[in-house]
Symmetry: C2
Subunit: 394 residues, 2 copies
């Protein structure tokens, strides 16, 4: 007798990993150059040179015992101060190191934040399309997700959001730039969202935590920076990862940042620490804490992603695909050519196109392409996309 | 309104961290050389030279995108195979990589294992004295711990163990070499333990998981290797960390190994994966996965710990302290000179001796000393221990 959910989460994988693993097998069968793999969001540009240079310096200059030793659970104070300074310089949050808890990446940041604030039965609102693991992290903390479909332009549908708020609403998760849609929330969206949440907080007399999942924050192509939730709503918690902007997703380092203007800021910071302890985290990896402290603010060369975005979007539109206008992250979200996205993505495999159906992202009828790939693969895949379209036009 | 337990675990720290943090302040006040800090089990010998050499090779030779990229959740197959081979060579477990799930250290291994098998209300038996976080990890998975006091020689008291087993017993945690007592379980202890658990499994018709927490497995001074639970009991799960034997506690890498002879081995492996996902783990740190793959089997030079053990034990016994005979790990467990261990450790601060009271380890009347310290500090601390004894002899 084992807990059903643990078995289910262990035996299944999310839709993205499923397609990726099919790809691994298929590439072995027919050669990697013949498979157009748009499945996974693994950064395809190297980390900034500073990362490996800093590692080399640290192992050369620092004492092994301290370099590889335990740190405080929240991460080195000097690291937290460096992150706070970088955020304040760019966003004027007024943060200090005490409001930061450094984690093993955004996934652990979200799992920890939810565990810190949720009571059994609490509801967490998520905006479709959304990263499938939000459901796992919420249910693991005995909460329930409620899915809010987006407006046609993929901004938040405020009417649907308002209708979904209840006495049981404890948190709202947003993700901008968005995986899988590439959408970036406008200032207007964040302002309206904040206003609605504030009104609902007053109505129910309870805090509603806005959890802003921001691993793609720096990956934007048509603007200097994205508007940030913490500048609009005081009860905000940022969950960040250095994975995408620094191309180090395997190293597992990110943070939770609690707004200094939150009513119960100090208690939330304590609960985050407690939740980290409960989930078995001791401290974030110590070598990479020092690396981030010295490299914070460096980002990978993202011009390749911009070129990919432009090539893929214009190519697909020319063929006749309908795509969400991608503003950030490295995903393109497009309409499937039949209502059943799973059947569509299955069909696309005939042309060796590996696409992720939108179902697990909380929407039907769409598919996701991760364009952190070789530019040349995009070019070579266009005839396949054309044949796929032809099948549906017959 | 925030969950009470998360607040409690966030606001309090365990007794070890409390003493350690007092030490940090005290050292700033009177100089580090004047404080005899026996509080924390931070390895005091450097990592094997191979660790930093391997890091240097990897960043020089490997492609950044793959080196710092995502891996499968359970860790690279090549790493898991290397670990399985090393274990099989030494212990003949018959493991393969599929039975291993690489984690962010022993704490996450235990948190994940308990989450994988516990239902709400299940009981977990722990052998006093025990690592205080067992309570946190058990309660975080909605289980309850039951504490079994040890025999006088700190082996398991089989009568008390038998009496504590119930219909609700789901797991037993053992830790040999032990933190805080330094005790190593004998073959006879493990054989008897296995026999009792097997009989109880038959009686209640349910699996009882023996979780063997083994971060100190290689730190033994009077024998080649410790007897291992997995050789005696088929329903064993090993939780390991490379922290102590490789002196890399901050890097957070370890594993869960499920016995290949476990009845429901495959399901438990799946539940472990599901629990890792639930707790927000994506994959263990990728650079260190490669480091461990190449360095598995290397251990730090532990002769310094042996010398420390001998010096501290003989010195204290000469003064008149009663100590558990320390066989492994780097802790000495000794009897407090008054029944209230907290009052005793508080009193010891007058002589700048930082000792950890046994209360949080599930026993009263003892104290722990971590002897992973400078040999010279041990020497210099002896007059302080003598003065402390004098106070109680007056």
């Amino acid at each position: 007798m084992l807990p059903e959910k643990m078995l289910a989460w262990g035996y299944t994988r999310n839709c993205i990993r499923e397609v990726m693993e099919y790809g691994t097998i298929r590439k072995a069968e027919i050669g990697a150059e013949n498979v157009y793999d748009y499945s996974i969001g693994n950064p395809s540009v190297p980390a900034p040179a500073g990362i490996n240079e800093t590692i080399a310096e640290l192992i050369r200059d620092e004492d092994s015992i301290s370099l590889h030793g335990y740190t405080t659970a929240a991460g080195l104070p000097s690291l937290r101060n460096a992150i706070a300074k970088d955020l304040n310089d760019r966003y004027d949050f007024g943060l200090d190191g005490e409001k930061l808890y450094v984690t093993c990446g955004a996934a652990s940041s979200i799992a920890i934040s939810l565990r810190a604030v949720l009571f059994p039965g609490d509801e967490v609102l998520v905006m479709a399309p959304f990263f499938p693991e939000y459901r796992v992290f919420t249910e693991a903390s005995r909460g329930e997700i409620r899915i809010i479909p987006p407006r046609e332009d993929f901004q938040i549908d405020m009417e649907l959001l308002s209708a979904a708020l209840s006495e049981r609403t404890k948190a709202v998760i947003i993700n901008s730039p968005n995986n899988p849609s590439g959408m970036v929330y406008s200032e207007e969206t964040l302002r309206e969202l904040a206003e609605i949440l504030r009104r609902h907080e007053e109505k129910i007399g309870e805090t509603i935590y806005l959890i802003s999942d921001e691993p793609y924050r720096e990956l934007v192509y048509d603007m200097d920076k994205t508007p940030n939730a913490m500048n609009y709503y005081d009860d905000s918690i940022i969950c960040y990862s250095f994975s995408k902007a620094m191309s180090i997703p395997g190293e597992r380092i990110g943070y939770v940042a609690v707004s200094p203007r939150m009513k119960d800021c100090e208690a939330v910071c304590a609960a985050v620490k407690g939740a980290g302890r409960a989930l078995g985290y001791i401290n974030p990896p110590s070598l990479f804490q020092r690396v981030i402290e010295r490299c914070v603010g460096q980002i990978s060369d993202i011009s390749k992603y911009r070129a990919n975005r432009d090539l893929l979007t214009s190519g697909l539109r020319e063929i006749g695909y309908e795509c969400v206008d991608p503003k950030g992250a490295f995903y393109l979200f497009a309409k499937a050519l039949e209502p059943d996205a799973k059947a569509f993505c299955e069909h696309a495999k005939r042309y060796e196109l590996l696409l992720v159906p939108s179902n697990d992202f909380g929407m039907t009828g769409w598919f996701r392409m991760a364009y952190c790939v070789d530019n040349d693969m995009i070019r070579r895949s266009m005839p396949a996309f054309r044949k796929l379209m032809d099948d549906y036009r017959k």
